[in-house]
Symmetry: C2
Subunit: 203 residues, 2 copies
DNA sequence: TGCTTTTGTCACCGACTGGTGATATAAAGT
DNA sequence: ACTTTATATCACCAGTCGGTGACAAAAGCA
């Protein structure tokens, strides 16, 4: 089995496997090479070290939702525009949270982003920022009430990220079971009502 | 210098010093003993290991704001009740964020809480949950509009935590400089307006 | 065929990790 | 002064880490 591509892809996928099985902390040259069943020196030869391997993994994996996954097809986006702004925006956040929660590996990296920077967290940061830009563009189509939307969106995204990241390790917060779907739904419903209130006042 | 108490306190304070200087990751028996200028075996003898030392440190440090720091004295709490609910609640969150941002060590632990559990993160979790309970109790005095307050409060606290934790390593989010005071102020102002809108509708 | 390049293994390095048993030394009690 | 006890140091363990140089074997090419 002298197949460079095969070996490379084994190394790359081992990164994801390790993150999933043992967490980000367990990822290192020795561990990755061991789970790939390959010598660690190849990480240096083929990827110029762990950083390069991180980048290769970042490019390979579906570890971030696309704009389409959140906003839907062209038709669905049109539908979105016909809804009241509060409903449409909340639906977008709901989908965003759903997409995130379906990607445990991404959440793991998201958590590590706050304690350590490396090629992988930087890649995640980059694609997220890119998506944020596109989302902001698309969301300008919605008929939202007057407000400081960048700050409101950030606030909500912060809350979603923290809830997703924290729920992995700690179940309760202020007496609420933040792992349960119900907690998420309550959050979104509250958000929708706040925005709806601003909508009414705007008329 | 055969002073057990002195030695113990040197070990305990070294934990805080290390977290501040090198981050949570750098804390280990070897490093702590080294910075304390003492043999690591004493960590096992006096604290029964790193976990025990964590707990001792948690008990020693002022690493979480008290309810008074957030709500103020009895008089100030009375003042708070005379304000519109939206203003009062926002003020409380503003003070909470301020208290948090003034404690970099706490933020560091808060960040690690999401990736690893140990005696220290559990202690932090415990005092926070306790404060959350007391806060909820006190906040029932405010004249707030009808809403699912537990979920709204959680949402806002999540956002504050994430912003505090993330700003240490990454400055921008969706084009906003989240390290700047202005970003915080915008967030609080938006929050206040959302609640205010609900207040108006409630009448 | 023989030579070169690619692909991969292996053994080893120094530095660090958490953890322990034996030992020195200062203080306290008699 | 002598013994006991508390306090602290030291040397060492096995294991892991990231990283490297020497070598083996397969593949490509002449």
């Amino acid at each position: 089995m002298r197949d460079k591509l095969e070996t490379k892809s084994k190394l790359v996928s081992s990164v994801g496997e390790l993150i999933g099985r043992k967490g980000f902390n367990a990822v290192g040259v020795n561990a990755v090479a061991r789970t790939a069943g390959v010598d660690k020196v190849l990480i240096y030869r083929y990827f110029d070290g762990l950083e390069g391997l991180y980048k290769a993994y970042a490019a390979s994996a579906d570890f971030w939702p696309s704009v389409e996954e959140i906003l839907g097809t062209q038709e669905q986006q049109a539908e979105l525009q016909s809804l009241p702004g509060s409903k449409a925006l909340t639906l977008v956040f709901r989908r965003y949270a759903q997409a995130l929660r379906a990607r445990p590996t991404t959440i793991e990296i998201l958590a590590w982003e706050t304690v350590e920077r490396n090629g992988l967290t930087e890649a995640l940061e980059h694609v997220r920022e890119e998506m944020g830009l596109k989302m902001a563009e698309s969301m300008r189509q919605l008929n939202l009430p007057n407000a400081d939307w960048p700050s409101i969106v950030n606030m909500m995204v912060f809350a979603i990220h923290y809830a997703a990241v924290r729920a992995r390790k700690i179940r309760h917060f202020n007496g609420i079971d933040i792992q349960a779907d119900e907690a998420w739904e309550r959050m979104f419903l509250s958000f929708e009502r706040m925005i709806a209130a601003m909508e009414v006042l705007d008329d």
